[in-house]
């Protein structure tokens, strides 16, 4: 990359208004790639953990039985949010049918399957420096032996509440309320300046 690294202090005034691309300061690689996955379907599921067997065949995966963990089948993610709360990520559009199927399957139990596709944004972060970037605003132990693929946590990133998913050594997902996305994105770009970053252009819905 021939492009010179812009003087970050010059961007101070417009903190959080950084461009969508920031080359690595030393012209090397190792930056972060941000990809917006917000259009995927999302279902907030409230139910007792013991109903897993009843809905596993609809979900394609069992409810995570461990705290702070995620179960996966293909694109689907079932994210543990609490003792009786889960977030299900599915292909765009699948959430409507899934919610009604689950509701009927659990009709006899106390439960709630609420579509939150538009309420939550989902960002993918890839790159060797991803843990260092997150650590600037997240107090969790993000060491690659402690926060590993298949783990998740609801926590704070700077002043935004987020759900953090580890997809691999250098790959994470951040889920936050859409109203916070602008702030979260601005914060992430700013934190990633040190390593350089690239925001994948939005594919239209």
């Amino acid at each position: 990359m021939a492009q010179a690294h812009p003087d970050i202090s010059a961007l101070e005034a417009q903190a959080g208004r950084l461009p969508d691309q920031m080359p690595h300061p030393d012209g090397g690689s190792g930056g972060i790639v941000f990809t917006d996955l917000s259009t995927c379907g999302k279902l907030n599921l409230r139910c007792a953990s013991d109903v897993s067997s009843q809905i596993i065949r609809f979900l394609g995966a069992s409810l995570p039985d461990k705290a702070n963990s995620v179960t996966t089948s293909g694109e689907r993610r079932i994210i543990w949010l609490g003792p009786d709360e889960y977030l299900v990520l599915v292909k765009t559009g699948e959430e409507d049918s899934l919610s009604s199927i689950i509701s009927s399957a659990l009709s006899s139990q106390h439960h709630a399957a609420t579509i939150v596709t538009d309420a939550l944004a989902c960002l993918q972060l890839d790159g060797p420096a991803v843990r260092d970037v997150l650590a600037k605003g997240c107090a969790l132990d993000l060491h690659d032996t402690k926060f590993t693929a298949g783990m998740c946590a609801q926590t704070l990133l700077a002043s935004a509440s987020i759900t953090l998913l580890c997809e691999g050594d250098s790959s994470f997902r951040i889920i936050c309320r859409t109203s916070f996305l602008d702030y979260v994105m601005a914060w992430l770009k700013d934190a990633a300046c040190e390593y350089g970053y690239y925001v994948t252009p939005q594919s239209n819905i």
Binding site: Q14, H111, R177, E194
Partner: protein, 1011 residues
């Protein structure tokens, strides 16, 4: 351009292959990579560095570390300037610009030094005793005092151009201090594979070993051993090495804060790196190896440039290769200074004499000094140092064995350097910050760590173990113990063998030199150098009854300068104990607090400034509003369109246009920020009946109802419209600001008080984009926007909800109204927000649809007398105060706040109640917040009825309207009140009215009637 006249060959950290140039007070000098500003100045023979705080006395360099009280400078220029930096801590870089402080016109000739002459009239606490007459003059006196005080000046250009960052870490073992013990502990701990962090405030690891030319570890020079350890550690990927990093804070549950200086030593500074980085580390086991600090001796003139700590002189010689003088007098109460004396002589200096306060001196080092032909004056004290801008002569007197009395004539000697050693003070700050206890060590005359509170251990000199060998042994023990307690394993290494002359370290209690002059007379003997606190000041404080350590500290300001008393606290304590006739441990010590050394505020702020200071929340239609020229208003974290300004419009004109449109044609509001909560479960109805003051179990499916929520003290908390989507399923809306609070509030009751209720709550605020279409043409516009549901009053009555499509977008349409007009709130999945908005604008174009903001919304609802929680209420208002008794169920046995409303105070006739106000002059718009009174001519304090909560010019009514909370307001309706103005204008006259100003019958809700 001056040469480095006092530069020696060697210097363990000096890189002569990298010369650097810098300026001090405009004069340029040279130094090398590895220098500090202090060492480079010493190498250049510069010893006058600054002026003291109170007396503006000339000051030089006393130490070689962060304990430096004297050598404070301003570094950098313009926006990069930073005051009060310790020259001993500033790493030299090419082009460094340093300036002396607290002097005028120049460092050498400072008018402030008049205070030194006046000093007899300025004892400790003098300002408490005068400047009181005449009373009105204090501010004038103070003006001069303020200007005399303070040290450096801040940057002229206020905006800091540099970047600061923060980061979080977790590790099993953190070691503070990278000297011999610290390195040893780090290596031992690292062998376990546990995550280890080693931090040191200096640029290089090694601590005292960088200055110790006489010790061998495993038969190699100490410095080589340091390098070996360092390379071992840097090759282990479970180890994080942080030089230039100060552990400044030790918080609860081993929450450790570190300050890393990332680029301060670089030139130029890479723009992508932060200047400093704050590390917030949660640690399982902390090991403190922070070493010790040498104490100065207290004698007249001990603050002169050229009077230095003996250990510092040794550091400048051995670590930095800079010779601080040519003819030295050493004065000491212990053995350690002998090594420094020899180092000085070996470096080519001439040791005039070693003045030792002890009557009998013996041991290996004493012998070595004698063998080197150095005169030793035992049983003597240095009782005065003299010179103008530098020490030139000292007075040496024979003293009694206890050091309190002078026994004979003084001798005088010339010199250009005094090397003093008053003994060693373990650096127990962090242990104390961690709420560890301190215990008195009588042999070593110091406090050392006692019982711990957090999971931490102290090793080496900071633990009172001054001998390197015992420090290394403690390091191995502590590290293995720490590893074990973090669930790891490692086999203990054998202690490296240390070869050095044995020091029998047992200092003599000698807290201040006796003086040839009478009490309070003779040259000043300083205890706290920077704050100019003398031994006489401490004795004065005691005479005046300020006798607890804290009183002495606060009365004399000893220990309160930017060096935080690192060199002065123990001497002050010793002198205080003497004055009180107590033992030191009975006098006690002050507890240490964060920070260990002064810590950059820019770093602590980090990136939480500017646009990132706090989160901002945006709706999906935000970009449309901006494009349409909207001005925004902060509501909580949300940005809401306040009003849309057309070219040439004032705010008033814009708002008037929007308000009129909503009543004559149609207005469109982005209501997406309203809180939305999905309430489900078989007990949903029961739950809502307990949360709201009114009934929701009786609400039919598909119907909407306005509800009011109270706190348990009966005060209004929030309001909103809730709709029954199904038997066991409600859609609740809240105020924009209250959304989060209401959800938390309801969760709290569910989880803590009513766990038996089967109810799930899910926030869906952002799931829906909401456009509120309001006005007589609302129905027509929706039809034009090809809505799929029958909008007729019979099919779709007021306060009901229908699902369908608007312009092909799936929608929930609520027929509710906050304006009093025919009104629909259209909810679509948030992603369709802009699509819906533009579709409605297009469909409404022919009907004169007009987007309106929150300001117009406020006017419209005020015309109808609708309240806004947070504006008409402030946490002290009940539904009855608002005249909303109709919404408080009498039938329900209980709901949150019911019991509170039955308290005697709630029936008090003087409670403030919500009423309307109509001004006598229709054009008078009462300022919101103004207070109504019955008699404006009453002299203050005037009896107030209460304040105006909302006030607007009403374009639809053609006169101004207002709402107010007035004492006994409901009984005042019809009465005349006055509203006094701030700016001396005459009070506004108004009549108390009902709160509904417009369309009291509510005909307009169906859009048919015209008025």
């Amino acid at each position: 351009m001056s040469s480095q006249r006092y530069r020696l060959s060697g210097g363990t950290t000096i890189r002569t292959d990298t010369p650097l140039s810098f300026t001090f007070d405009g004069k340029s000098y040279h130094g090398y990579k590895g220098d500090t500003l202090a060492s480079a100045l010493i190498a250049a023979g510069v010893h006058l560095i600054g002026r003291s705080f109170k007396y503006h006395r000339p000051r030089g360099i006393m130490s070689a570390g962060s304990e430096e009280p004297n050598a404070l400078v301003r570094v950098g220029t313009g926006a990069y300037a930073e005051p009060n930096l310790k020259a001993t801590q500033v790493e030299l870089y090419d082009g460094l610009i340093a300036t002396s402080q607290n002097r005028f016109p120049s460092l050498k000739y400072d008018v402030g030094s008049i205070n030194s002459v006046m000093s007899q009239f300025l004892p400790a606490g003098f300002y408490y005793k005068t400047f009181m007459w005449p009373a009105s003059f204090w501010m004038t006196y103070e003006h001069f005092i303020r200007n005399a005080a303070g040290l450096g000046k801040v940057a002229s250009d206020p905006i800091d151009p540099e970047r600061y960052e923060k980061t979080h870490r977790h590790c099993e073992i953190l070691i503070a201090g990278g000297g011999g013990a610290g390195l040893m502990a780090a290596y031992q701990a690292a062998l376990s594979g546990q995550r280890v962090m080693l931090v040191d405030e200096q640029a290089e690891f090694g601590g005292w070993l960088l200055s110790d030319d006489a010790v061998k570890i495993d038969n190699m020079p100490a410095y080589d051993w340091v390098r070996e350890m360092q390379s071992l550690l840097s090759n282990m990927d479970n180890v994080t090495l942080l030089p230039r990093t100060t552990m400044f804070g030790y918080g609860d549950h081993n929450y450790i804060t570190l300050a890393e200086r990332v680029t301060d030593h670089l030139s130029p500074r890479p723009s992508h790196l932060p200047r400093m980085r704050l590390w917030k580390v949660r640690v399982a086991q902390v090991i403190l190896a922070t070493g010790c600090i040498e104490r100065p001796l207290v004698f007249g003139g001990n603050d002169l440039p050229g009077v230095m700590l003996a250990s510092a002189v040794q550091s400048y010689i051995t670590q930095y290769g800079a010779l601080p003088g040519s003819r030295a007098i050493i004065v000491t109460n212990n053995d350690t200074a002998y090594q420094a004396a020899l180092a000085f002589q070996n470096a080519g200096g001439f040791v005039r004499a070693i003045v030792d306060t002890r009557t009998t001196v013996k041991g290996a080092w004493v012998k070595a000094a004698k063998d080197a032909g150095i005169d030793i004056l035992s049983g003597h004290g240095l009782t005065g140092a003299y010179g103008i801008h530098h020490v030139g002569r000292v007075e040496i007197s024979p003293i009694t064995a206890d050091g309190r009395e002078i026994t004979g004539e003084a001798v005088h000697m010339d010199c250009d350097l005094v090397m003093m050693s008053g003994g060693l003070t373990p650096t127990v700050h962090l242990h104390s910050q961690a709420r560890g206890k301190l215990v008195w060590d009588e042999k070593h005359l110091c406090f050392k760590p006692g019982a711990t509170h957090e999971a931490e251990q102290s090793i080496g000199a900071c633990n009172g173990s001054f001998a390197l060998s015992s420090g290394l042994a403690e390091a191995i023990r502590a590290a293995t113990k720490a590893v074990k307690s973090t669930g790891g394993t490692c086999t203990a290494l054998s202690v490296p063998d240390v070869t050095a002359l044995r020091i029998n370290y047992a200092p003599m209690a000698y807290w201040k030199a006796p003086s040839q002059a009478g009490a309070g007379q003779g040259p000043k003997a300083f205890v706290d150098f920077q704050n100019d606190v003398t031994s006489a000041d401490i004795q004065l404080a005691v005479r005046e009854g300020y006798q607890s350590v804290e009183h002495v500290k606060r009365y004399t300001t000893t220990g309160m300068a930017t060096d935080q008393g690192k060199t002065s606290n123990m001497n002050a304590l010793g002198i205080l104990a003497d004055a009180l006739g107590h033992e030191i441990p009975d006098v006690g010590t002050t507890t240490f607090r964060m920070p260990y050394t002064p810590t950059s505020m820019g770093m602590i702020a980090g990136r939480d400034i500017g646009g990132l200071f706090d989160a901002v929340r945006l709706t999906r239609m935000d970009s449309w509003h901006r494009a349409a020229g909207a001005k925004f208003e902060h509501v909580g974290q949300w940005m809401r369109a306040w009003y849309y300004r057309h070219d040439g419009e004032t705010m008033e004109q814009a708002v008037t246009r929007e308000v009129l449109a909503a009543r004559t044609t149609a207005g469109l509001l982005d209501a997406s920020t309203l809180g939305k909560i999905d309430v489900r479960g078989k007990d949903a109805a029961t739950f809502l009946d307990r949360i709201y003051t009114n009934k929701f179990s009786s609400l039919a499916v598909g119907k909407c109802r306005y509800g009011l929520m109270l706190k348990d003290d009966g005060m209004v908390m929030d309001d909103g419209v809730t709709t029954r989507l199904a038997d066991e399923h409600y859609h609740m809306t809240t105020t924009t600001g209250g959304a989060a609070g209401v959800l938390d509030w309801m969760e709290e009751w569910l989880q803590t008080e009513w766990p038996e209720l089967d109810v799930f709550l899910t926030s869906v605020t952002e799931q829906w984009s909401v456009a509120t279409l309001s006005g007589p043409h609302a129905r027509a516009i929706l039809e034009a926007a090809d809505i799929s549901v029958d909008l007729s009053d019979t099919a779709f009555p007021f306060m009901s909800m229908k699902q369908g499509y608007v312009s092909g977008l799936p929608a929930r349409i609520f027929r509710i109204s906050f304006t009093g007009e025919l009104s629909y709130e259209i909810n679509v999945p948030a992603r369709y927000g802009v699509a819906l908005w533009t579709a409605l604008m297009k469909a409404g174009e022919a009907f004169g649809i007009t987007p309106y903001g929150t300001e117009a919304m406020h006017v419209l609802r005020a015309e109808k007398g609708f309240i806004i929680v947070g504006q008409e209420t402030d946490g002290t208002v009940t539904p009855l105060d608002l005249g909303m008794n109709w919404i408080v169920s009498k039938k329900k046995p209980d709901f949150i706040g019911k019991r509170a409303l039955e308290r005697t105070s709630m029936a008090d006739p003087k409670r403030k109640q919500l009423v309307g106000l109509r001004t006598d002059n229709p054009d008078d718009v009462i300022p919101e917040g103004a207070h109504a009174v019955l008699d404006p001519n009453q002299p203050p304090p005037i009896d107030m009825l209460g304040h105006v909560t909302s006030s607007y010019a009403s374009p639809n009514l053609g006169y101004s309207i207002a709402m107010a909370l007035l004492k006994g307001g409901h009984k005042l309706i019809g009465e005349t009140v006055w509203i006094p103005m701030l700016d001396g204008q005459k009070p506004i006259k108004a009549v108390v009215t009902d709160t509904v100003f417009y369309d009291a019958q509510g005909d307009r809700l169906n859009g048919t009637s015209s008025s």
